[in-house]
Symmetry: C2
Subunit: 443 residues, 2 copies
Amino acid sequence: MAEDQLSTFVSLCRRRGFLFGGSELYGGLSSIWDYGPLGAKMKKRIKDIWWDEYVEKREDIVGLDSSIIMHEDVFRASGHLEGFNDVLVDCPKCKRRFRIDKIEKFGTNLYRCPDCKTEIDTRQQKPRTFNLMFKTNMSAIEETPVYGYLRPETAQGIFVNFMNVLNTTHKKIPFGIAQIGKAFRNEVTTGSFIFRMKEFEQMEIEYFVRPEEAMSAYEHWVKNRLQFYLEHMGIEESNLRLREHGPDELAHYAKACTDIEFRFPFGWSELEGVAHRADFDLREHGRVSKKDLSYFDSVKEERFVPNVIEPSSGVDRTFFAVLCNAYRKEEVKGRPRVYLKLKDTLAPFRAAVFPLLKKEPQLVELAKNIFYDIKKSMPAVYDDTASIGKLYRRQDEIGTPFCITVDMESLSDRKVTVRDRDSMAQERVEIDRVEEYLSERRK
Amino acid sequence: MAEDQLSTFVSLCRRRGFLFGGSELYGGLSSIWDYGPLGAKMKKRIKDIWWDEYVEKREDIVGLDSSIIMHEDVFRASGHLEGFNDVLVDCPKCKRRFRIDKIEKFGTNLYRCPDCKTEIDTRQQKPRTFNLMFKTNMSAIEETPVYGYLRPETAQGIFVNFMNVLNTTHKKIPFGIAQIGKAFRNEVTTGSFIFRMKEFEQMEIEYFVRPEEAMSAYEHWVKNRLQFYLEHMGIEESNLRLREHGPDELAHYAKACTDIEFRFPFGWSELEGVAHRADFDLREHGRVSKKDLSYFDSVKEERFVPNVIEPSSGVDRTFFAVLCNAYRKEEVKGRPRVYLKLKDTLAPFRAAVFPLLKKEPQLVELAKNIFYDIKKSMPAVYDDTASIGKLYRRQDEIGTPFCITVDMESLSDRKVTVRDRDSMAQERVEIDRVEEYLSERRK
């Protein structure tokens, strides 16, 4: 999708009920979004496919669902309390606030406001360090607060439960723990639709391996996760690329990291990071908690702290990428047509059923019967609230692969018109064969 | 389950990986729990069944997935900011803090500490009002905070999106909006395992109706939701009851409310509340936001603020109830046997496969092949990390309906032993017929 299409695309997402602004009835909260009826459906499909692929299908990965609010010491050990900061500076003129690493610098102490272009002298405008974690008082008394933190990543819930999982599942290394859940970061940079949000959702795996097998496991996971987007999310190869972090970009403890990038309307950006985190997480949690988080290999009779490979995917970014990738705008007989070329496993509905004429009770009845029948085996929608042309456009815009129209002839020949979303080709299909027809034409 | 079995039950939940204490590596956070590998699976099954039943199968209900952090004005309108309070008092001697409405009172100003039995005189020990919502600073600057609130119920996300949903889905009243998600309450009362948690998950429907149809819709929903627990959660009728709120118990705006109660180990307690909230929510949000949240009925040419029926279920309480309901302890040949009589749609695994002897490569190979085969059509687990008796006990304790054991004879007669969780009956079944055998014996 081209950058100039982004605003049309965002308005489609709002108009069709994929996304609404968070608390927008009250003016909204910046960088917080709600998933509407279609968005909620599609987001759930994405999460279910991931969970099925990694937790249900594999024997070497187990699931977890840990809490959002966590103990302060968790983030002392993880380094978030100390180091998860942005450095911010205020423009003296327009008073807007910016991340100092994101704005233009010239000279030793001078920056330029990206909005009003005023010079910002950091000897006058002192930059301030700001922790990105949301904290909340868990004590019942305001004056003696005891802070809990909203996790900034689901990963920490996995690390602190490593021993619990090991002891209860009898898993042997290599094995992984997978989790889907909300995470929170008080990002100042707002923007780019749902790309960077204060409240977002992650799908993370921590895969524990022997140190000497970590590098090959890392390489395996980069490939595996790239394949996931191609195969299960239907993202085109030309819209994905791998970008390995250079030595200057890597966290001090990380041995390697590769971003899986998607070609967003505003440029190539991270969809997922696959990181080789060595033994940093378990070692630090072991050190701070004073518990032994090492693993005993009973075959090799050897004790060690496992290395960890972390494929960390953003649910919202995947959702965004899937929609961008599917977005098509073309001209049909001099008029614009917009449709979403979604995989049918991801589309909110696999089929839509309409009566050609709403005022004909026989048509409505037959259309509803077909709808109820189809609905038993796939997500489907019935609609008769507009003209047929409008109904087609509606379904195109939400990516429904097939529309089934019942007309007067259907009453006698027991056939319906099935229209293909992508080619717009229409075919008469016997009512009894519709389901079979659709299942032969998976998208 | 009897009350004295609760601690054994909790230890089973921990030992088998259903639940772990939140942040317990660091001493834990009170009333916060993590779902372990089996708990995460079963919790997801509960949510999926609910979502499927209400969002995917029905045409009159759509889904939503709104944010956890919401605008302060949302809770100004809902009344939570003003009225969602506990009144707390401290014991002067043991310093513990209690909800004043939960402890013994005698005389005009005197209470008794439930722990150390000291008298608490509220003329000296001033009770304090304490809001149950967690708030967090969303501004980047500590000194000029802008508070967002972690929603204390998912319902508010539905109300503030009422118009968004109406405008994008073209739904006509009656229709509902359904949502599953986390909610947060800074409860001082701790305890009773996962019954009352600071971080919990809800499955809520707001069903919008014409005022004159509200009472019959309310009655319908009470029955519908009771049936859900019986039919889909497998809870026995004798463990469920309806309790209608008396006039003194009802919120001032509510017309009626019925709790669906479950017989928890500590007594009958709320599993779900089904409330007739009249037009309170939409009216108040309309008033505070100064937006028109009324509905226009185009057939009757009439404008009105819809009434709402709210079936509000706790995911964690349902999870807890399902486990309690399934918990069985019996004596077999003089030894105790514990098993979970779970519905097979809820059990973490539908079948387990073992080789009788781990040291026989042929048995292991055959067992694994059977396992991989079965796993294509149902959640299954392979285990060879203990003796057969221990493996049976393990699967009993996690509610796996069937265990399949491969022995030396299996190599020649191509049959395996299938053991039934509930009756412990064992039957030789042809390997090729195992799947069919299991599907004929749904639990």
